[in-house]
């Protein structure tokens, strides 16, 4: 039994390495890889649109990462690379769209809704406060209440 387990481990060890070798080789430059990773988190993969370029396994994403890596090596700044990509793929490639007249609604719409909601809420509360009528106690009621609340009311009923 022990020998069998040993064999399984040996097989896993050998094949595990074989699988491990298929992974994408990282470049030898960890600083560049980190920069690439940070930048591609800000970019959208256009094939699977809800994934970032950093997460996506699509072919195009890999090609774009390669392109970005090469441009970084060539000394381009992040902004230059973003410009390169938006010239080709448009604003849509940015996960954080720029603030332009076409994106005003997107950026400020939620705050407008929030303000509108608050205004409605305050208005409603004020209206309700006006609607509540005061019902002052009559003299008889007040007397009854005083009797009930007085310390010796308990003795009376006992």
């Amino acid at each position: 039994m022990r020998r069998l387990i040993g064999l399984v481990f040996l097989v896993l060890l050998v094949f595990g390495q074989a699988i491990g070798q298929q992974a994408q080789p990282l470049t030898d430059d960890p600083v560049l890889e980190k920069r690439l990773n940070n930048l591609s988190k800000e970019l959208r993969c256009l094939v699977c649109q809800n994934e970032t370029l950093a997460d996506s396994q699509a072919d195009l994403a890999e090609d774009l990462r390669r392109e970005i890596r090469e441009q970084m090596r060539a000394g381009k700044s992040d902004q230059e690379i973003i410009n390169f990509l938006t010239q080709r793929y448009g604003q849509f490639i940015l996960y954080r769209p720029r603030v332009t007249p076409t994106t005003y609604l997107l950026w400020f719409g939620p705050f407008v809704l929030l303000l509108a909601g608050l205004a409605l809420l305050f208005n409603y509360i004020r209206k309700r406060r006006d609607q509540i009528e005061e019902h002052p106690l009559t003299v008889v009621q007040r007397k009854m209440a005083e009797e009930l609340l007085s310390p010796d009311s308990g003795k009376d009923s006992a």
Partner: protein, 177 residues
């Protein structure tokens, strides 16, 4: 009365927005390249890699660049249409063979027919990045000055051809005469 009409009105507005949203394809991203110069490239020709092809060779002509690949399933749907359009002779169609293997690409053309005047091989997809390709097939209409005038993302349909590409190409061709 008003307290019922306001929510109803807001609801109607919401419905209209959602209805418009339904008619749109989120995969169609407007290309920033429309009315911009077609990116330059020089690539080996698919059938004869010793020759090259460049967008600049076609200055002065109205032409179509169609991005295709043998692994692309929608390209297979589009292919018979392209063959028909190529036969009609309305606009010359050039191919950009995108991230494909040469043998597969040649096999595809001999099996399904070749609508292209010629195809250029973009094996590593670099030229495609310049053209903002993200889902083959994609089709560009390029005018005499080398400006992209129209882009179709996904397969060309008879509707798009007859209502958009063909009229625009004819209009551009008339412009030179």
């Amino acid at each position: 009365m008003l307290r019922f009409l306001i929510p109803l009105g807001l609801f109607m507005v919401l419905i209209v927005f959602l209805a418009i949203g339904l008619t749109r394809d989120p995969h169609e991203v407007p290309s920033p390249l429309i009315n911009k110069p077609a990116p330059t490239f020089r690539l080996p020709q698919l059938k004869d890699p010793s020759k090259t092809f460049s967008a600049e060779d076609l200055k002065g002509k109205v032409w179509i660049l169609n991005v295709w690949a043998s692994w692309c399933i929608s390209c297979r749907d589009e292919h018979p249409l392209l063959i028909g359009y190529a036969k009609s002779g309305a606009v010359p169609i050039y191919g950009l063979n995108y991230k494909d293997q040469r043998d597969n690409a040649l096999g595809w053309l001999s099996e399904l027919g070749d609508p292209y005047v010629l195809s250029a091989s973009d094996e590593d997809g670099r030229v495609a990045i310049d053209y903002g390709v993200y889902g083959a097939p994609e089709t560009y209409l390029i005018d005499q000055s080398g400006t992209i005038r129209f882009k179709q993302i996904g397969p060309v349909t008879p509707d798009v051809w007859e209502k958009k590409i063909l009229p625009l190409a004819q209009q551009l061709n008339r412009g030179t005469k």
